[in-house]
Symmetry: C2
């Protein structure tokens, strides 16, 4: 059987998983690729570091030239995290004639246009199924399987850590801090989970999907985003009372030809597929104008789910499918966008608002007066009797009808300035 030499750069969690699939299950990849994917080189920064992966003698080195100078190695799994030296190494691989497979969404979200344009100039390809939603084949779905559609919207849960924390808070009735600690103990959150819980990771993945699905040219930093790190347990309980669960939702939606993009904790109606996504799972709900709604659910992270996507990309690359996709579909570019981003203030939907108010006559009228002047119509209100211990401040929860981001933001700012309103107001989107 024909043999194609491949290599791995970076032997962390995902790299070890990829090595395992290539070394231990070579017959399987051979059956699906029609040839053997022969792991020829593994390059790491520090060869002395202990690894949870056994490699045959002579495979491991710290010398990138062992890959770049070997013309028989045609495809490389680039599994380094961070931006540098990941970017420089990816460029070096492309320059030396290698096709690249990567799982590094931060690198693509930051330097995607540069890297993709360079790959095109060099006649090379970059495959990146593993960069978004791990084992869920959402990149192939959007760029290939749904290519007869105009994608109308994407609603997605793309960060397993955040979803695990939210599920724990809800199911165990614990605070954000306690749930995050539980996630760290169980390996679902890193020691520094900032990028996961503040919405950065989700925004980076959403930027990649928006490029693919809509031809957007948005930088992830320009996507309005909020994480779950400021979430109050009280709001989870009110959401539940209203028939919703709070999820960190990434949204990309065409509205009158403009693209609405945001990442935010959102009240998602119980019983809808996205509300039922539990633990560290990811999910994407895609609406195409021909296909209707297609829903994908699976593990968005972890060693083997991610390695599964990387090896599928390696197979696609060595058999030549990736090159075709890369050439025919204008994947990411510094060229002009096909669609403009909608101004965030003009995006609209229903909103959940909670105010901490003094329990005295006239407050409700003042607040609803502000909402009315901003043109915001109220769908429902919850105000429970104040607890004995905290008689002078009561939470007031308001669900709005359809309203804009701008109007609700301005209303909240105005309400926050009322003398009867205490700090700590909350405003969240609602997805029915």
């Amino acid at each position: 059987m024909e043999k194609t030499k491949v290599a791995i750069v970076g032997l962390g969690t995902v790299g070890s998983g990829v090595a395992k699939l290539l070394l231990d299950y070579g017959d399987r990849t051979a059956r699906h690729a029609g040839r053997t994917l022969w792991l020829e080189q593994v390059v790491v920064r520090d060869v002395t570091k202990p690894r949870d992966c056994e490699l045959p003698e002579g495979l491991l080195s710290a010398d990138l030239a062992r890959i770049t100078s070997d013309p028989e190695i045609t495809a490389v799994a680039h599994l380094l995290g961070g931006l540098e030296p990941a970017r420089t190494i990816m460029l070096a691989l492309l320059e030396s004639g290698k096709d690249v497979v990567t799982a590094n969404k931060a690198l693509l979200a930051e330097h995607g246009p540069e890297l993709f344009d360079r790959a095109r100039e060099l006649g090379r390809s970059i495959a990146f199924e593993a960069s978004v939603a791990g084992g869920i084949p959402i990149i192939a779905a959007i760029s290939q399987c749904l290519s007869a559609n105009q994608i109308l919207s994407l609603n997605a849960i793309l960060n397993g850590t955040s979803n695990f924390v939210l599920t724990q808070m809800e199911e165990q009735g614990i605070s954000y801090a306690e749930a995050l600690a539980a996630a760290q103990r169980r390996g679902y959150a890193e020691a520094d989970p900032t990028m996961d819980v503040d919405g950065t990771d989700t925004a980076q993945k959403l930027a990649i999907l928006a490029h693919l699905a809509f031809g957007a040219r948005v930088h992830w930093r320009d996507i309005p985003r909020q994480g779950i790190d400021t979430l109050d347990f009280a709001d989870m309980m009110y959401a539940k009372e209203l028939g919703y669960r709070i999820k960190l939702l990434a949204v990309a939606e065409l509205v009158n030809g403009d693209l609405e993009l945001h990442v935010s904790p959102t009240l998602v109606r119980c019983g809808t597929p996205l509300a039922e996504v539990r633990s560290a799972y990811n999910a994407i709900s895609v609406v195409g104008d021909a296909v209707g709604r297609v829903f994908f659910h699976g593990l968005g992270a972890g060693q083997m789910p991610t390695a599964s996507a990387v090896v599928a990309d390696l197979i696609d690359t060595v058999v030549g499918r990736t090159a075709i996709t890369f050439r025919t579909l204008e994947l990411w570019s510094q060229r002009e966008a096909l669609v403009a981003s909608r101004e965030h203030d003009r995006t609209a939907g229903r909103f959940y608002m909670r105010f901490q108010v003094a329990d005295r006559p006239g407050v409700m009228s003042e607040i609803t007066g502000v909402l009315g002047r901003q043109g915001i119509s109220i769908a429902s209100v919850i105000q429970h009797e104040a607890a004995e211990t905290d008689r002078d401040v009561v939470p007031l929860v308001i669900m709005t009808h359809h309203a804009t981001e701008g109007a609700t933001r301005r209303a909240k700012e105005e309400i926050d300035r009322l003398p009867a309103v205490r700090p700590g107001s909350v405003r969240m989107r609602v997805r029915d």
Copy 2:
């Protein structure tokens, strides 16, 4: 921009949808294919038949030679139903050098090995994403995106008509006959729905998936199957009481290296994703040894969802991806199977049984005695008090622990012969 000529044979519901996507949204397919897919010919049996689709002058004819004799037409959407002349026409298209895209699962399930081997001999390809689960990209997922995995199991709802009928029965509290009539009125069931409701359609689709996912060489007729056409409303109510919904489930699962395959109405535990599939939707839950569980949900039939899959296949075909997949992956063949089918009697799981029994002493003991002798352990029993009007016969519902198909089948046969047991016993699988 480069122009590739394509053609359509058969202008029924799906064919009209494909024509619409190619004619009205050519810019979109051009963007995703890197070239224009130019609809050059549409061939039908009867050009005088009224159509819900406007075609440009000169496109429509009843002459297949206008396609087969035009060397510039490289890819053809073959959208004829049934086995003949669909098979003969597909062979003629392949012989004349065309790559073929089809949605005809019955044809593939019946003649797949012959057609695929012939296409390979001729250096041509057959793409068939639309043949299973309409708009859900399950063929691409299994044959391409999950190719680093050994697939361990597929559990799927593949017939929208049956799922619509089951949902109506459950939500509206109506009988099978009433629900089927509602499905026919709303266009979810054909005038003759036999193949949909008796499990044939589902078994044909399962055979295709089993070939792809497991390298099985099973003929759909050899898949043990039961439809929803004999389902009693009473069992839906008992299922609900036990915390389950009845779904027409297609199962392919590796058990100790053998492949277990069957199609049957199954009690699926409420809250699991498959139990929540409503109306005419389809869904597939795939478990791979690397990726874990991936769940797909979408419209499994209908004009535009199916056309979406056909046009995606046409794009894959004209850009060359299909040829690679077809060549590298040994898609379907008359060659030897990679896996043997497990003898149906040896397949195992939990079972639901209902017996209509005379309300007199000793009956329970006789029935449980039979189950005990067959090694079947009882998990739970429901026996409600008999209705006033029907005092002498009461339903006895039994949920078993893990047991084999053979043991439960034999036990039911033996119990049916007991003098106290009336006709109409029911035995169904359970999926927790």
